[in-house]
């Protein structure tokens, strides 16, 4: 096994990008990452994407994007693991470079969601859940998260308002990220008054439907040198759970998040206390609480306490900065691209290139990307060279 480093990053702004097609979004991110890395060729391109077939009526993205960015001829595949597709593609790229099969790999996450009508997108997102035993009963992806949030509030006797800090923190950080979809701060009061989607989940608990693409360039760490740009991947680990929430041993414990983070901590030789910032999968505010518990930052039922005081302890200058560039909630959640955005943002932090959102003395950062309601969870731990 070889150590693997990231030597280039690229990202498009996230939002309703009607003037950009799927292939143009991917192009912009890949070309930016190649330019940042100072490379003109690659051995392979792995594309993380969830919904191109459903929403853009286009599959076969590996070859499509390789050709479109001027890399015709190289190995290229699309990787799908629902909302975890981006980190799954990175994991595959990591395995290829660590295993010595490739030396220069580009990983791109891309999603184009806003061309389709809202109902189509709602149905498409539900493809991440169990079609025969969840979705067939009329559940949306929001509804599944609402079931978790309601149970959490019941079991731990937590009011809805206790989650406000996750959303307030994400929007506060989104305001400092020029690529974020939402760049305005919100108040806890605005969180409380937001329109209900599936009780208890309201609009401010939920990440937005959007378009975007992000990319990274991977090389063996021996090649990367110790220049400004290189960030080492200390750990890459994934784990699975049942697709359906009702099939889990304990619906309020994200077992795959626990398993993948434990593997990642062991690989990296670190503990949660060593993590300087954490890009977690805040697709819904309940997922923030559950993620913090499964990854060892909080005891069961206490993940939500990180949101106290408008999220002061998870702010940029807090004890554990999370969603430092806005997270899924404010940067946006272009589903198959999200896992790559998270890692790009950790690289920005570790390079000291996060602008007004810079976490001071950031040395080790973690990103955790979740597919579905917790069935695929992929954790990466990165460190400045």
């Amino acid at each position: 096994m070889r150590d693997v480093s990231i030597i280039g990053i690229g990202q498009t702004p996230v939002g309703e990008l009607w003037d950009k097609s799927l292939r143009h979004l991917a192009h912009d991110a890949v070309v930016a990452a190649m330019r940042d890395a100072g490379i003109e060729r690659a051995d392979a391109l792995y594309v993380g994407n969830m919904l191109s077939g459903e929403l853009a009526e286009q599959e076969h993205l590996g070859a499509l994007i390789a050709d479109f960015v001027g890399l015709r001829g190289i190995e290229a595949f699309k990787i799908e693991a629902a909302c975890g597709s981006g980190a799954a593609a990175l994991r595959l790229g990591y395995m290829a470079v660590a295993g010595g099969l490739h030396d220069l790999v580009i990983v791109c996450g891309v999603e184009k969601m806003t061309d389709a009508p809202g109902a189509d997108t709602t149905s498409a997102l539900a493809l991440a859940a169990d079609q025969e035993y969840e979705v067939t009963h009329g559940l949306s992806f929001v509804a599944l998260n609402a079931l978790l949030m309601r149970r959490y509030m019941h079991e731990y006797n937590v009011p809805h308002s206790a989650f406000a800090g996750f959303s307030v923190n994400a929007h506060r950080n989104g305001a400092g990220n020029p690529n974020a979809m939402f760049q305005s701060p919100i108040t806890a009061a605005a969180y409380q008054q937001a329109a209900m989607i599936a009780d208890p989940i309201n609009l401010m608990d939920s990440s937005p439907i959007c378009d975007g693409a992000a990319a990274v360039v991977l090389v063996p760490s021996d090649w990367a040198g110790h220049g400004r740009g290189a960030v080492r991947i200390l750990a890459s680990a994934s784990a699975t759970d049942s697709l359906a929430i009702h099939d889990r041993r304990d619906p309020l414990f994200l077992e795959a998040a626990y398993l993948s983070s434990q593997k990642a901590y062991r690989q990296a030789g670190v503990t949660p206390a060593d993590i300087d910032l954490f890009e977690l999968h805040d697709a819904f505010s309940i997922m923030s609480a559950l993620s913090l518990e499964a990854t060892g930052f909080a005891r069961r039922g206490e993940g939500v306490r990180w949101a106290e005081d408008d999220g002061a302890r998870i702010a940029i200058d807090g004890e554990l900065p999370i969603s430092t560039m806005g997270g899924l909630k404010a940067r946006g959640h272009p589903v198959g691209a999200t896992g790559v955005y998270q890692v790009v943002e950790v690289v920005q932090q570790l390079r000291g290139e996060a602008g007004v959102n810079q976490v001071r003395d950031a040395r080790i950062g973690m990103a955790q990307n979740i597919g579905g309601s917790g069935a695929t969870v992929i954790t990466h731990i990165l460190a400045a060279e």
Binding site: S140, L147, R151, I197, H246
Partner: protein, 136 residues
Amino acid sequence: MRIARNWRTRQQRYSLVGEVCTQCGHKIFPPRDVCPHCTQPAQLPYALSGRGEVFSYTTMTSAPQGFEEYLPYTVALVKLEEGPMLTAQLTDVDPDEVRIGMPVEMVTRKIREDGEAGQILYGYKFRPLLERQTAT
């Protein structure tokens, strides 16, 4: 909707036919052929009673395609008395009266129609347990 796919799950949707593990005895629903508790083969059919309680619930105000006309409707995780949990709609109940822990029982209802000329999908929903209501 896919006709053959819905036909394959008819015993589950109409009669809650799951499985029982011959190794460890756990009841399993939905059926999965490998016991999730002991990972041994588990293909012995077992019909569940259809009685359980609400583990969690939500009322939907926007719906996936094909369910728009039924809004608003309440969906739940139901913990069956034999142990397994499943996901289903609640019926015959005011959404404001649903509570976690509420005893419920299975009924067979229309889940959705695929347009005027299309398939009608029937299956399990859960309503507040009637026997207990009349007994008190």
